[in-house]
């Protein structure tokens, strides 16, 4: 027993590891079934609030487990689950056309641009090079130079080189800008698990599983982004509106909502950035009593009695949450006008709010309910007509490190003060005096004039920079800005500054993208493919297993066990590597099945040969395993090399095939050599003298 203990452990560990790697997939499947039941229930609910409550209940009970399971489950490729795969490319010819100054563009220039666009469609050459070539051929003989068409306003010593440099730079940034805009839009559209990536210098590749409304998606991808400057009105008016929404909702009985806890934690996390939930709860209650004091302080003269006085802390917290069905979803802070004063958390216990600036933060979990309530007609009726709520585009970076997504939101004046067309350029740089990241922005003459009026009238107020209804920054106006050159500071990182630069350029640069590749797999074909794949795999496994067992007898059965283990291992490793299983991937596994037994065939044939030579069983076994090794290695390494080449040069599903092939080869080496040997040794140790390899019985020598 001792001799083979290690081998038993080896087999057992392999089996356990394989199953453990596939467990998240199993779990995710189960949870998704439960999720479907909940979604069905939610659909039957009478109103959107009830259905949201059902979804929230699911989130509360299973949300985290589902997320975890999904992260390490075996993902199916678009060809199996259905969806849309798109490659977008920056339309550089269009970009050149947009960058040229409108008033100077003439027929000659358009001729150059059109010829460039036509040529660019068929070659891989750099489009700016093509443009320059055509410009030299067509426009230059007519006495034109690049300077005749491009005017960047405040650039000193404009030269052709500078124009070309700017075009190249714009081309680079257009892709980042398009990427940012598309990410936000896809996110808002609600595609589950999208995969959006930059490919090379001018392309974006997107995988959008489950997207079936192609027309919608296409318009989403092709419309240009809208950049606006809007006044921030986080004032008493909006806070009072929130208070009224609470009262409005209190009239109706709300279903007990699971999200209350997160709202509670939320309050505290924002204020103290505390990590542990348990202490968070206690703290919240503490603060609640504190805050009532604050409220009481500010309303000294009014007669309001504290409704929470005398209540135990837990009770007070509970009562607060049930009394404030809307405002408990987020946290409100008052920003005192004095410099360096701390922000004060505000509670909606009494309808007495000081004048001045406020700040609102909301956890991602609470967003759907917040939006649902804001969308109700009776709530909309209460909303001040000239205001609209807008959310930050990115979660607060200070909390992201702790894996908490907290968003700022704002009440903005609906009418934009200015739209993005007036922006000529933007640049992320460092302030020479403070060495902190800043973004500078330049406007054209018309924009500069209006900007100076706007900034002059709104000193010490905030103006939000809004792209596609998402707020990217809401800087405070520190002085009247004349001449059109502004500097925005307060970025927490150079990355944040770079993002703002890209966003600001959306005004000047319309980042035209075009779809150059589009693949859509309908859900029915995906289902068919899964069915075909499973049928083919099962039949292939059965046939190969039978063949091996017939031909190599007991040895064949061991090889079969190894092969089945091999398949489970391939799937498990694929899952834990975060790879996706595509239809060609399934083909790769089926192929591996045929090839995996090859190693065993080599070993067994060798053992048979050695037995024929008259060796004893033991030594034939050893010889068989050791002498077949070099052939096994050689044959598998060559297939592995082609797999590697396919993986690097193929795309999409082909990469899936290559990946399963490569994993399959590695696992084959492991299972066919080590696992079968272990199984044989375990059997021999259990008392058997020999194992049949299906060889002809010529054993006369003992």
């Amino acid at each position: 027993m001792k001799k083979v203990l290690g081998k038993i452990i080896l087999v057992a560990i392999t089996l356990i590891a394989a199953l453990a790697m596939l467990y998240p997939t199993y779990k995710a499947n189960n949870l998704e079934k439960i999720q479907k039941e909940y979604l069905a229930k939610a659909k039957q609910a009478k109103n959107s609030s009830d259905s949201l409550a059902v979804i929230e209940a699911f989130q509360k009970q299973y949300g985290e487990a589902l997320m975890k399971a999904k992260n390490s489950q075996l993902k199916l490729g678009l060809d199996l689950r259905g969806g849309m795969y798109v490659t977008l490319e920056v339309d550089v010819a269009k970009l050149i056309e947009e960058t040229a100054t409108k008033q100077y563009v003439d027929d000659t220039f358009m001729q150059v641009v059109e010829k460039t666009a036509a040529e660019a469609r068929n070659t891989e050459d750099d489009v700016i090079d093509i443009f320059l070539k055509n410009f030299n051929a067509i426009a230059r003989p007519k006495g034109k130079s690049l300077i005749s068409y491009f005017d960047f306003g405040n650039v000193r010593d404009l030269s052709e080189e500078k124009i070309i440099e700017k075009l190249r730079n714009d081309q680079k940034q257009a892709i980042d800008q398009a990427l940012e805009v598309l990410r936000q839009r896809i996110d808002q559209y609600g595609v589950a698990e999208p995969n959006i990536q930059k490919q090379g210098a001018t392309r974006i590749v997107m995988e959008l599983p489950g997207v079936s409304n192609v027309a919608d998606m296409r318009s989403l991808l092709s419309t240009t982004a809208r950049l606006e400057f809007k006044l921030v009105k986080n004032n008493r008016q909006i806070v009072e509106f929130f208070y009224r929404v609470d009262n409005l909702l209190k009239g109706k009985l709300e279903p007990v909502v699971a999200a209350t806890d997160t709202a509670k934690v939320d309050t505290n996390k924002v204020a103290k950035a505390d990590k542990t939930k348990t202490t968070a709860k206690v703290d919240t209650t503490k603060k609640k009593t504190d805050s009532t004091k604050v409220a009481a302080d500010t309303t000294k003269k009014s007669d309001t009695t504290d409704p929470y006085a005398g209540l135990p802390k837990e009770e007070a917290a509970k009562k607060y949450l049930s009394d404030h069905p809307f405002t408990r979803l987020f946290t409100t802070y008052y920003m005192p006008p004095q410099k360096n004063a701390n922000v004060v958390p505000i509670y909606y216990t009494v309808n007495q709010f000081p004048e001045g600036e406020y700040m609102f933060k909301i956890m991602e979990d609470s967003l759907p309910r917040f939006k649902e309530i804001m969308n109700r007609p009776e709530v909309k009726a209460l909303m001040p007509a000239e205001l609209a709520i807008a959310f930050d585009a990115k979660p607060d970076p200070r909390f992201v490190e702790q894996n908490i997504n907290v968003f700022d939101f704002y009440s903005l004046k609906k009418e934009p003060e200015l739209t993005g067309e007036v922006i000529v350029d933007a640049l992320a740089t460092y302030d020479p005096s403070s060495n902190l990241p800043v973004v500078t922005m330049a406007m054209n003459a018309d924009g500069a004039e209006r900007w100076s009026k706007i900034t002059g009238a709104n000193l010490n107020k905030r103006i939000a920079i809004v792209l596609d209804d998402r707020v990217y920054s809401a800087p405070n106006v520190q002085s009247k800005i004349t001449g059109g050159n502004s500097q925005i500071s307060g970025m927490s990182s150079p990355e944040e500054a770079r993002l703002l630069e890209i966003v600001l350029k959306a005004g000047a640069l319309k980042a035209p993208v075009e779809i150059i590749e589009e693949r859509i797999v309908g859900p029915s074909l995906g289902e068919d493919s899964i069915r075909n794949g499973i049928t083919a795999s099962v039949i292939a496994v059965i046939l190969v297993v039978l063949y091996m067992a017939m031909y190599y007898s007991t040895g064949g059965v061991y090889a079969d066990i190894a092969v089945v283990l091999n398949i489970v291992l391939i799937l498990g490793i694929l899952a834990s590597l975060g790879g996706t299983l595509s239809l060609p991937g399934i083909a790769g596994i089926i192929l591996t099945l045929g090839m995996a037994v090859d190693a065993n065939v080599l070993i067994y044939e060798r053992i048979r040969e050695e037995l024929h030579k008259g060796r004893s069983f033991k030594s034939a076994l050893d010889e068989g395993f050791s002498k077949a090794l070099s052939a096994i290695l050689d044959s598998n390494i060559t297939t592995f090399i082609t797999g590697l080449i396919l993986f690097y040069l193929g795309s999409g599903p082909i990469q899936g095939f290559a990946l399963t092939l490569m994993i399959g080869i590695l696992m084959t080496l492991f299972t066919a050599i080590l696992i079968t040997r272990a199984l044989i040794d375990i059997t021999l140790n259990a008392g058997k003298d020999t194992i049949s390899f299906g060889e002809k019985k010529i054993k006369t020598i003992k």
């Binding site: 150059i516 794949g533 049928t535 082909i654």
Partner: protein
Amino acid sequence: MQLFDKTNIDFVSLRKVFINISGLILILGVVVAFIFPPEFGIDYTGGSEVAVKFSKNVSTDELRNVISNAGLKNAEIKSFGEDNQYLIRVKEFGDVQIKIESALSKITNNTFTILKVDKIGAKIGGEMRMQAFFAIILAIIAMLIYIGFRFEFAFGLGAMIALVHDVFVAITFIMVFNALGIMDLEINQSLLAALLTVVGYSVNDTVIVFDRVRENRELHKGMNFIKLINLSINETLSRTVNTVMTVVITLVVLLIFGGPVLMGFAFTLLVGILVGTYSSVYIASNFVIWYFEKIKKQDLETGWINEKNKVKTA
């Protein structure tokens, strides 16, 4: 069970016959390529392809009619897997899907579902073509280097000639089967993946034989060179047949049950692997014999002169 028991088939003496057969097939391939040029899929040409499933039977003529009325000329229409499933292909790239959908909705008494859409811009198609070409060349060179490194140069060259042979024969079969209408086989990405796998697998087979030659060379020093090769092929025959059998089983299953998407892939692999087995016996080994006989001017009767003696058995 044992199918082959100490076989002693003379593979080598017939080498000239088989080399001629292979040569003929290759010449045929070139001729076929001119008469029925291989059909490239939209992966490599650019264009659009829409697969639809109808609830009831539709004739291809009717389909062609409505689509051409929608302004998409020269549409190709093929059946796709099951009955009432069609693949519509046009050269255009743009709002093709919408045009086709509105055209198809004009067919009365029938409903349809879009199974899949592929739209490839001409630029991407061109890039993929280059990539495919590059991938095949790279794979072949990698094999040459690996075998040359593990064995000697002559073996590497033999393996490479065998696998180039396999790829060409497989492509010839693809062209012929496609032209005769037996199967819908256009050269697309999954076909390329199959061809590359053939490259890897063909070498695999060859390596097994060479590995045995290497071993026997040490074991039977001074043995007649041709006999040595023949012995090695015979000794590995059982293994060769068995491995091919298991792989062929899986590929036939894939061909029958894998559905329309994988059909070309499975067929290419099947042909490639069968040819690969043949070539490892008849092409690769015979090339090595030819090489030592004609280039190295060795007397094959007296046995192998191992100049480098660098190879040792494990």
